[in-house]
């Protein structure tokens, strides 16, 4: 199993009670809540944690992109990735991912990823996402064309990485007379592409196609949904005429390890509940703007993802542990929960969110240490 130490970089100094008066911590939460000096300290802590993950033996460290939200402070994740490259030697750097439909010229993403790949001498993992629904509000991009823009931007980026330039690209959304990437990516034929997703059948079928075979990461979902989507990927691969390997299946989840189950639950409670009840919630109008997924997927997502869009329901850590959206407990309990999913799906990539919500630095670091010492070795 491959382990990614993943970070969202939430804004922990947020006044949670005052922020609750707004529709969401996304899009409409006034940025007067953000204090740049406190924000600078947050970046320091979080970068230190990710750098520490290399020492602890993680295979990769991961960041991602979110806009106009206290949930995550990385509207430009490649800037963070660039800083991490300078402070690490061998660990892979996973940007999970860049939101392709949200840009007006996807070549910018192709160029930046190529730069990171060259700067790191081939340590980049390039994640492609569509951005979450709220980001269609914050960027103004029309969600009705989200899938089209994603596929077209993907085709353009991969072609720019692999086809000698200059060439012309003629799409419906993106038209470029000259595509001629300088620099080209370091890895051959290009950096590995991973697809993190809340899950939709369309994305699974697309990612698993034989000319792509992109690893598919299910994020923030109850265990039943993780299993469902992993097996959906396996079935889609079968339908494409091959057997998917475990290295094509990933699971991203908040994880907390302490000496005992009870201690872990106590330590993680405030962090987990602030993540799910303060940083993440948004009404369906923001989470799933029309067109973001097919009408059928939208109905399915509403049923399958009680942890997302749970507005204004409050979720407890116990509920989230029980439905398997999070993994919290002693090293043995955490190993057992992860093994249980692996037995059902054979997945081989674990994206561990080891700092979440308000979880303070000292607990995040101890969590990382225990996870690296007591959980990872036995799962490898």
């Amino acid at each position: 199993m491959k382990f990614v130490c993943f970070h969202l970089m939430p804004y922990r100094p947020l006044d949670l009670a005052a922020a609750k008066k707004y529709r969401s911590a996304w899009v409409v939460l006034p940025n007067s809540f953000y204090d740049p000096e406190k924000g600078a300290a947050e970046y320091d802590s979080y970068l230190d944690q990710l750098v520490y993950a290399e020492q602890l033996g993680f295979d990769a460290i991961g960041v991602n992109e979110h806009h106009q939200t206290a949930y995550g402070l990385m509207p430009a994740p490649n800037l963070i990735a660039s800083a991490l490259i300078q402070r690490t030697k061998t660990v892979q750097i996973a940007v999970l991912g860049r939101a392709l439909p949200l840009v007006n010229n996807p070549i910018n993403i192709a160029e930046e990823f190529a730069m990171l790949d060259v700067l790191s001498k081939g340590r980049l993992i390039a994640g492609f996402v569509r951005g979450i629904g709220a980001e269609y509000h914050s960027t103004g991009v029309n969600p009705a064309f989200s899938h089209e823009r994603f596929h077209e931007a993907h085709d353009l980026i991969v072609k720019a990485w692999t086809t000698p330039g200059p060439f012309e690209f003629e799409g419906d959304h993106f038209r470029l007379r000259y595509v001629n990437l300088w620099p080209r990516p370091y890895q051959k034929p290009h950096p590995p592409v991973w697809i993190p997703s809340m899950g939709s059948r369309e994305t699974v079928v697309w990612a698993s196609a034989p000319d792509r075979k992109y690893p598919f990461m299910v994020t923030f979902s109850p265990e039943s949904a993780v299993v469902r989507y992993h097996n959906m990927y396996r079935e889609a691969a079968q339908a494409h005429g091959y057997a998917a390997s475990g290295s094509q299946l990933g699971w991203a989840a908040p994880i907390y390890v302490a000496e005992t189950d009870e201690r872990a639950r106590q330590d993680a409670e405030a962090g987990i509940e602030s993540l799910f009840n303060n940083f993440l919630p948004m009404p369906y109008e923001m989470l799933l703007p029309p067109g973001y997924t097919s009408n059928a997927s939208m109905k399915a997502t509403m049923k399958l993802r009680p942890a997302l869009g749970a507005w204004p329901r409050q979720q407890t850590i116990d509920e989230l542990i029980a439905n398997g959206t999070i993994v919290v407990g002693s090293p043995a309990s955490v190993r057992e929960r992860i093994e249980r999913v692996r037995e059902q799906t054979g997945f081989d990539i674990l994206i561990a969110l080891l700092q979440f919500g308000l979880l303070p630095d000292h607990l995040a670091r101890r969590n990382m240490e225990l996870f690296a010492e007591k959980v990872m070795p036995k799962l490898r």
Partner: protein, 261 residues
């Protein structure tokens, strides 16, 4: 006379449609919420006109042709509808998205249009006076911003989809609304500069307390359509033809009678 749903096929695109009344032809273009139920306003118009109320392509139970991408496509589609389904120029009445569509069609070609009635039309806006954001509103906020009479909002909130098919229609309507109205919100930045192309008689009707498209926009329409009759309905929200069906019906009928005289 029929009020039953029928199909209107234009260049291979089939949409739901209702017809009622006899007389000169009139066409009602609905707003972004979707094809309305048969309204008292329609009954009033159909006493004097042969009224056609289609559902826009992309909405509800109509075809969603792949070429339908933006408001310009919808406007061109209706120019085809006018050419192919009517033998005489048509009185076009549009609400909100429908008013916007009518204006977009009229700037391109008014030849098949007898008159234009725009009820709280989208399409142009005054900088510094933003429209409400119906895409971020909860159902309750949307209903409350739509009506001045809050009992109408409360009645709408009590409506529940009768079937899974109705849920699908609602999702499809929302998708169509996003296609036309998301970015920039309910605006075609290029429309305003061509409004002088509209030379047919026009009237503008707006609810003073419109919570979605501010009634202040009526002034901008008047600037570009100086001969248009502008009526601001007091104590009225975004749907004057629903909140004041009789008064607005009379207003429209009087205007249309003047056009014919």
């Amino acid at each position: 006379m029929t009020e039953e749903a029928d199909r209107l096929v234009t260049r291979g695109v089939s949409v739901r449609v209702r017809y009622a009344g006899a007389g000169p032809p009139a066409l009602f273009l609905h707003g972004a919420r979707g094809w309305p139920a048969w309204l008292p306003f329609f009954a009033r118009l159909s006493q004097h006109y042969a009224l056609t109320v289609p559902e826009h392509p992309g909405f509800g139970g109509s075809n969603d042709p792949p070429w339908l991408r933006d408001i310009a496509d919808l406007a061109m589609y209706y120019l085809d509808v006018l050419d192919q389904n009517f033998s005489a120029p048509v009185h076009v009445i549009g609400h909100s998205l429908g008013g916007w569509t009518a204006a977009e069609a009229a700037v391109r070609n008014s030849g098949r249009i007898a008159s234009l009635t725009l009820i709280a039309p989208a399409g142009i806006r005054i900088k510094g006076i933003p429209p409400g954001d119906n895409f971020i509103w909860s159902p309750e906020e949307a209903a409350r911003a739509t009506f001045y009479d809050q009992s109408l909002a409360e009645a709408r909130l009590k409506e529940t989809p009768a079937s899974e098919a109705d849920v699908d229609i609602e999702l499809q309507n929302k998708l169509a609304a996003v296609k036309f109205g998301w970015a920039p919100r309910w605006l075609n930045p290029n429309l305003e500069k061509w409004l002088h192309r509209i030379t047919v008689p026009a009237q503008i009707i707006w609810g003073r307390e419109d919570g979605l498209l501010p009634s202040a926009y009526a002034k901008l329409w008047r600037e570009h359509l100086p001969s248009a009759k502008v009526s601001i309905i007091e104590a009225c929200g975004h749907s004057p033809h629903i909140e004041y069906a009789e008064a607005v019906g009379d207003e429209v009928l009087a205007f249309l009678a003047g056009v014919r005289a």
